[in-house]
Amino acid sequence: MSSWAAVLFRRDLRLSVRVGGSALVGVLFFLAVVTVIPFGVGPDLNLLSRIGPAILWIGALLATLLGLDRLFQADREDGTLDLMLMAGRPLELLVLIKCLAHWVATGLPLVIAAPLLGIFLNLDPVATGAVTLTLLVGTPALTLIGAIGAALTVSLRRGGLLLAVLVIPLAIPVLIFGVSAADAAIHDPVPFLTPFLILCALSLIAAVIGPLAAAAALRFAGD
């Protein structure tokens, strides 16, 4: 990693964990969603363990979406984004690094919290491991796809809701393969590896499409 990239990465990470950043709010939201689901479907532990992977995935999706609207907006408000646009560095790479820092600050805590929340949902150790592994591979894709929505709505005052509407259809494949890989590990109708590898592929595709489209959107929003 070249030096400017490392500097940018550290800056974004530091900003998101300090006062005014939103790194840990996502995890709290994740906890709140998982807590509220049993009130909706009832405290039946068998049911909860069956739909547990799905609950964790939907919770992670919503938590990721909520944090995304600040990905570029804070930088736009204080003018940093304009400096970044004029700096002459490849904007696609810049977006990728910002996404990486954002994921480390908001996505990785979700992955780390998942095993703990799995206990609430009566998941056995194999299922917990599978869900955590799929979240580890899948949440970067959510952040990268969400970066497109964040870049498109960067100039809007309240873009958060629109961002969720735009991003959710694009995130459906990630959700499907994340949940089906976790399900495959628990009661195997298909081998675990097939959906898991497709999930990895989706993350890699998102790592290409996300920065490209987000950089194009930021350029158009800038001029």
Binding site: V165, P169, L170, P173, A213, F220
Partner: protein, 255 residues
Amino acid sequence: MAIWDYANPTRFLRLVQVVLPWLIGLCVIAFAAGLYMSFFVAPEDYQQGDTVRIMYIHVPAAWLSMMCYSVMALSSLGTLVWKHPLADVSAKSAAPIGAAFTFMALVTGSLWGKPMWGTYWVWDARLTSVLVLFIMYLGLMTLWRTMEDPIKAGKAAAILTLVGALNLPIIKFSVDWWNTLHQPASVMRMDGPTIHPDILWPLLVMAIAFTLLFFVLHLMAMRNEILRRRVRALRLRAASAAQPGTAAATAQPAE
């Protein structure tokens, strides 16, 4: 190049004025023929009875919902790559039409599903992908509505349309996967006997009629959008004439 001749909106409007009456006439004739064939010529299905006639609305609407997205994707390429001035007008005016066709496909599908499958909605792979397509149309329309500057909104929507065009096959594939995993072959398929010519011909005529209807509506919507933008420009000019001091400073005053 012919397409560049119509980069001038006035010339395009003149072309629309010439083409539109013919297109409307053809569309009416095609609909008259198609509706007559599908109601009186086409036989009843031996299992489904008269409800099979829903197909003559449902299937063309579903085709059009996909064709409309292709038109939007091509127009978006035109906006981003060739910077054609009418490309974003085309994309913007196609979105509500596409959403309407998708909605029509969903509603007629539900009405057909009730007598045939016993339920208005099943989470079948095809239905689910069409529903996702519908949500994407609505999202694009919302994105258009949130930005005041039509040029900026056009570029943003073009990026989202192209990302959606790349993603739609992936979504379709993953929904197929999800569906076979959860409920294999619970839905009756149409591929019992291959489609008989008596049914196929009305269907094709209706498909042509729907396509013509799409082009009529699309040209009309493009014309309206061009006129709407002219009104907007006139209003901006009038506003800046009223306040000469402030308007020169701000390039994009709010309406």
